[in-house]
């Protein structure tokens, strides 16, 4: 599903983002990307989202070499990728329902389908009764659930998260992880960059550890690695 072949990203100011990454993520995988601050996690996520271009190397998503896509094809690549950030990024002047429906409207989904899918996905993330609330009327966990609902409402095969629990207390974070696990079990491939040692240890999923832009460790099923 996702291949990285010898991917290097050097920022214009010369600082190294990632270096010579080789990574294969299969359909249905749940992968944690861990590593200390500055190890290149966000850089890797941005490369996957084609927010950044690799300096060298190929990135293949869904059999498409994304580094060779023209700019007007990027939107269609992004429709395969749901994305969740640490800071939620909700629109404050739209209700929960509208925030989620927004993701469908902008890819020109028919109203009929929007009216059917949005309530369903809100129910899935446990916000069935919060559709009319505005983001500032919600707890952090509820806001992140809204962001998660927005990320999956178009049913993307891949979900990419950059520290989705970074702003949440442990209990709330755990609720989000349960949801991600559910979503993964329905067949969605998940790539999640995180600092949260407890979560990684508890989930027992594949863990890719980055160190100074390189892969220091890649285990199929396990916990957080300290040495890296």
């Amino acid at each position: 599903m996702i291949w990285l072949n010898n991917v290097t990203k050097t920022y214009p100011n010369g600082s190294r983002g990632v270096e010579n990454l080789n990574l294969h993520i299969e359909k249905g995988d749940f992968v944690f990307i861990v590593g200390s601050s500055g190890s290149g996690k966000s850089t890797l996520i941005k490369l996957l989202l084609k927010e950044l271009e690799p300096t060298t190397g190929d990135i293949i998503i869904n059999r498409v070499k994304t580094n060779e896509l023209s700019s007007n094809q990027i939107p269609y690549l992004r429709r395969n990728l749901g994305v969740v950030f640490q800071d939620f990024r909700l629109l404050p002047n739209k209700t929960v329902y509208e925030n989620v429906a927004f993701a469908m409207r902008v890819i020109e989904a028919p109203n009929r389908i929007i009216r059917r899918n949005v309530p369903a996905v809100l129910a899935l993330v446990g916000l069935g009764k919060k559709g009319r609330s505005y983001p500032n009327q919600l707890s952090g966990g509820e806001q992140q659930r809204t962001a998660l609902a927005r990320a999956i409402v178009n049913n993307p095969p891949i979900l990419i998260c950059d520290e989705p629990t970074g702003n949440l207390d442990p209990e709330t974070a755990w609720g989000i992880m349960q949801l991600l696990d559910d979503i993964n079990k329905r067949g969605t491939t998940i790539v999640m960059a995180t600092h949260a040692r407890d979560i990684v240890d508890d989930m027992q999923k594949r863990v890719v550890t980055l160190k100074q832009g390189n892969i220091a460790r890649d285990i199929k099923k396990g916990g957080y690695c300290d040495e890296a």
Partner: protein
Amino acid sequence: MRPSTIKYYLKEGLSGLRKNLLMTMASIIAVMACISIMSFSYCVASNLHHILQQMEDSIGISVFIGGTPTSEEIEEMKTQISKIDHVLEVRYISPGDALEELKADWGAEEDIFEGLDETNNPLSHSFQITLDEIESQDSVLQALKGIDGIDNIRHGQTETELIMKANKVFNIAGFLVMLILGVISVMIIMNTIRISVVNRRVEINIMKYVGATDWFIRWPFIIEGVIIGVVGALLPLIIGIPIYAKIISALYNYFPVIKIIQFRLVGDIFIVLFPVALAFGILLGTIGSVTSIRKHLRV
């Protein structure tokens, strides 16, 4: 494009304008100023042209022939004059006809011509020439001078030249002011759209993440510009119609002499002005928003 998508663009465009009301109004006023000048210029120019056309029918050119030409010579001159460009009609007037016309013009006092008949008629043989357009009077006069046997040429050149010159100066001035106001409008619209883009940064960012196409992101901003253009064009026209009607009727009332000439009808003016002003307003709005989008919307 789905109807729901078009509705979305309109809704977003309008909400962008509402959130940025002060700049929106400034843009609309700038477009209004530009369209008003354009409309005013058109009203004046079109009326002057209309008046000139009415004068064309009455003025024409008179050509007088010296001596007593034979009828062959007259026929020959008539064909020569007819061949000149822009000459619509050539009518031969014999001295006898001229005398009759003169008598008719003087009406009750025709007895001052008592005693004049074919034998001692002092009037000349002449041609009355009608032109297809008054602007070509100069070239026709030039051509007439090249024809042998012509004694004297009379025409309404000075009056028409004056009106034509006034018309030209007015057109150029109107066009220049319109151009300047147009550029100012585009600049203000550009700034309005820029602010709108900045206001929507977060939203645009999310749209990109969920896979909105570049055009989907751009359209609401173009719509904003178009709305500014449409409103800025329609307002001066709606205000302008009754004002034009008032001015025309006031002119007729205060200067009864003017009644011999006709101004253009409100309907005739605005059936041209409406589509032109609307198209021009939309053009200004589109240029403003598209340049602003190219500069500020990195999609």
